[in-house]
Symmetry: D2
Subunit: 348 residues, 4 copies
């Protein structure tokens, strides 16, 4: 039997990192991942099971101090970074230099255009190495870039909102049936885990419960990803995120105009053709629409739509679990394709 893949996670104490740890712990092709924390980390816990008793059944999962020599000693091949973007920006070049492959869950390496990266504070001044690395980085949306993953050294795992929007629109834009001049609108709603684990006035239970709020209108960091991946101009897209009173899940309601009158069956075919053979996208037969509950605790992106009687105005609904298809699940899906595992492995 072939030896199992050796992986490490930096940042397993956050929501996405923990979800990733859970997935890797039961992935049949992967050894128990090494879980690391940097010395400056505020978390004083040294055992993941103390933070997340949900996984404490089989003994503990001690967090080990982060160091390059230790990664080498343990023969780690693949490093997952579930770290703030500025940490990922600093660590990735070193990791690549040490011969590791990396799946980075932050926004640090997703954006090719300098003006889009600016929202993260990354500029051209980052230097030659970063620029060269950025060119080699694969945007880790396996449905679009599956072919590039086997050879990828650095995979930039997409943003959660971006995943839900890009997967809904990619088939239509690829088929060139969207009237982009009329504008595309994504009205997106996310559960609170998308805002991260930090306790703030905004994530306080009393602020979120019995409420709904829009935020970062015309200014969310995921917009750059969506524009770049879909090759849209910034004037062609409005993206409005909302904070839902639920722990997890994203639903994006997306509005597009078609260039010419179409039948619902043609639109449905467009989706089916594009996602043929892609196990983690489910296309709903119109007029059935996805709901957040359907994709929760799964790695699916669920897509559905309604077409107006005029055959031109189209409402798309796209649902994912933001911690799985929107983060950790997609990271494992990327790993599966990087290392020749079955795309569904460890995700069912």
């Amino acid at each position: 039997m072939a030896s199992k893949l050796k992986t490490a996670i930096l940042g397993a104490t956050g929501y996405s990192g923990f979800e990733l740890a859970r997935l890797l712990l039961r992935h049949p092709g992967v050894e128990t991942p090494v879980m690391l924390q940097r010395s400056g980390d505020t978390a004083v816990e040294v055992n993941l099971a103390d933070m997340y008793p949900a996984i404490s059944g089989n003994g503990g999962y001690p967090l080990q101090p982060w160091s390059w020599p230790e990664l080498k000693r343990q023969k780690i091949e693949l490093l997952f970074l579930a770290t703030p973007h500025e940490v990922s920006r600093a660590l990735v070049p070193e990791a690549i230099a040490h011969g590791l492959r990396v799946v980075d869950l932050s926004g640090a390496w997703r954006l090719r255009e300098a003006q889009n990266r600016a929202v993260y504070g990354f500029h051209d001044a980052d230097g030659v190495t970063a620029a060269a690395l950025m060119k080699k980085a694969v945007y880790g949306l396996p449905e679009l870039y599956g072919d590039c993953l086997p050879g990828a050294a650095l995979v930039a795992n997409p943003g959660c909102y971006a995943t839900s929007v890009i997967l809904a629109l990619a088939p239509l834009l690829a088929a060139d049936i969207v009237d982009r001049e009329k504008g595309i609108i994504s009205d997106s709603k996310s559960g609170v885990s998308g805002a991260g684990k930090e306790a703030t006035a905004r994530t306080h239970f009393v602020s979120v419960a019995d409420n709904l709020s829009a935020y970062s209108v015309f200014g969310h960091r995921h917009v750059g990803e969506i524009l770049e991946q879909l090759k849209l101009d910034s004037g062609e897209l409005i993206f409005t995120p909302h904070l839902l009173p639920i722990p997890r899940g994203i639903l994006s309601t997306i509005y597009v105009h078609l260039k010419q009158q179409m039948h619902a069956a043609e639109v449905e075919s467009c989706f089916h053709d594009f996602y043929s053979g892609k196990p983690w996208v489910r296309v709903f037969a119109t007029p059935k629409l996805p709901q957040i509950q359907f994709s929760l605790h799964t790695n699916y992106c669920d897509l559905g739509f309604c077409l107006a009687k005029d055959g031109r105005r189209l409402v798309l609904v796209s649902c994912i679990d933001n911690l799985l298809k929107g983060a950790a699940g997609q990271a494992v899906q990327n790993m599966n394709l990087m290392y020749g595992f079955k795309e569904q492995e460890g995700l069912q």
Copy 2:
């Protein structure tokens, strides 16, 4: 001291009707309302306080059997109907014939165009009386039709979604600054009380909690109201309702294109001018946006907006409590203007 207004409520056992009962019970200008139920009603309770212990502090509120002679005997002047639309459709002509004034909370008398009424099953065949009544009915949005209310015999209280959308768009359309050809989109989200008190698979706690779903895309009954009131063609509006995992509250995120480039201050003025002197609309200073929590348990419609840097694309956010400004509160506001009370009376 002038004698107090004598009112009756049919349908006080539903969510809107009960909220209305609560408001009228503490309105200083109104006698304790007579609460009625028809003999065929499934509710076996005969006391409102048994159904809603929240109001049981001061003795009970017995529901009395419905009959025209009884209404006459008790000298009722104003009848509130919180009944299914087909019941309202049948009862209103009789009530008017008996000399009562009516505020109807159902959809029965809101729509002038036959094709819009069709969703409720009301057709021209309803006859001469209905047609004549419909012409006299006032659409009960006090911010738009306040002048017509003192003389109104029949007030059709608006739909909850419709209230949130119309109040957001009316100032812009009145100022003729919206590029209607580019289309208007209202992505609306409502708490579960909007779906009524009937227990269905859809309102089961387990179906709603931790979920979000879109429904009735291109086919919701409130669309006709919005089109008629805003004088839009059906091709100019997309209205998409969603079911939120909260008991009450509506947030509509509305997307419009302006005819020409504007400054945010100009847009803000447009709202302030239109709603000057209107106590139940609050305009938020951009970029502050309303949230559902802010308007909950109040009669306010909260409006806010963000304008894109191009000065053309505008995102509006409109919030109401669907049971107050979206139903019972608005009914009381209508009553206040019908009878010369202060517009805020009994609503604070």
Copy 3:
């Protein structure tokens, strides 16, 4: 017309303080309260309506800098402290020395026994003034100490949990029908606003939603109040608080043994007799039980019970809104009795 009462609130930015501000703003016998903040307060907002847009309809409510001369200049008669207990401990003696009457919502002045005060860090070393003040302080549960309120200079507003437990047990203990040796258990559950406005890992939406947890077993700070007020030994009571995934409301399920076999009607009489003439306690006819929803957004304490067939084992259910009867509403009720207002004034 008599002049209105002049009040001030320190701490109106917290949950209880804000609720208090809301109540006083519409109390017919009270002038618009002066809202104060100390210079060291972290809140940078200077207007209450900025923090709580729900009340922004009628202009703003600026927070004024705290100072004794300013209170004097504005002729404040009654000071509400919605401050941390150590702040209340320090300010109350000064306030009394300045001739103000005080309603303190913290735990600072509730406890007569030094060993019970120890959980707040207050010891005998607090000195003569504190000891003297403590003797004069009235425990602000109006149903028990209503007679002492007109003359009270310092009212210690009870804890929320304590209110729900004491009101349920007081009638039974006064009638001496409880077998205290068999032990009394209060299994209490509270919404998250009871934990305060501070954003912590514990109040993060994702930690609370879809969850329930017990905490501070055998060690909650409200235990001392309950023991003192009910004259119980510490071995006679177990109090177990739980954190509910709701914003507000408390339900206490309380277990007692009766000294001798009784009929349900006798137990019911015991409650009715004790609370005769008390407008803010509702006794439910057994076997109907209170639910949190029934008392939410009201100042009621709702009491109900079930008696076992053996006539000895009794399960009590007590519900309050922790921010109203458990804090701000009770503070206003206390004020009403201190100043001769009707007990319900401003609370309906």
Copy 4:
């Protein structure tokens, strides 16, 4: 390779039945279960994936019409009944007569004492067959009756509340350290899925959200199971269930008196000894307590406790996912032991 176990589920459209279908679909030792529905069933769906789109990724799961010959033709060995108790009561004798083994998730075969069965309407008049079957039925709590499962023809899967209470108390009662005369109290709280899938006024989202309520005090159907399994007299236990505003999960807070003063370490040992080698019970090191979130979506029963300083009064906290350890997960655990699979198989 040995052939896989052939199973069938009647009632896969309910919450527990569906959860069971999900588990069996990915159990490595079991063939795709045959899912059945009786002709009179109200569900018109003929495909499980239509009702629960969450599992629709890999094609559909058609529900087949129920008949004994069909079960025989498909060589079903083990039948799971997730049916109302009266259906289970009627079908089990026939199933046994047809040579099938049965795991019944209803309350039909859990109770040995006629007076306890009376709450389900089953009396001695059920006849000889039922009486004989009842004697052979194994109460399917694997931690207590694991040894009886390999030979069991009929396994009565325990109630959800009962599982949480029995597992918490069994070690203490087995060690004979509980002072039963002082009474045992279980204050239990359950998510709404425990109330079943039927849409009622009680399960309506608006009734449950922002609420907590006690119900069936001194009269819940699970009391009989708890008494029988723990060999308690009815006067020794008070069991009070509450309805939590969450979809799933149970937390029981249990109060007992110890016969003599003990140390926390001794109590902890008592639990560890009793559950040594039992993979699905986790004992928390005191004073850490389980929370509902920790056991959600797992088959664990989580146990923790706090001991008063007097070493006599003990508060236990027991958490399970009511649909897994409280129903479907436990059914699979039972199946695993009936057929010689590893106890954790298909449950991780």
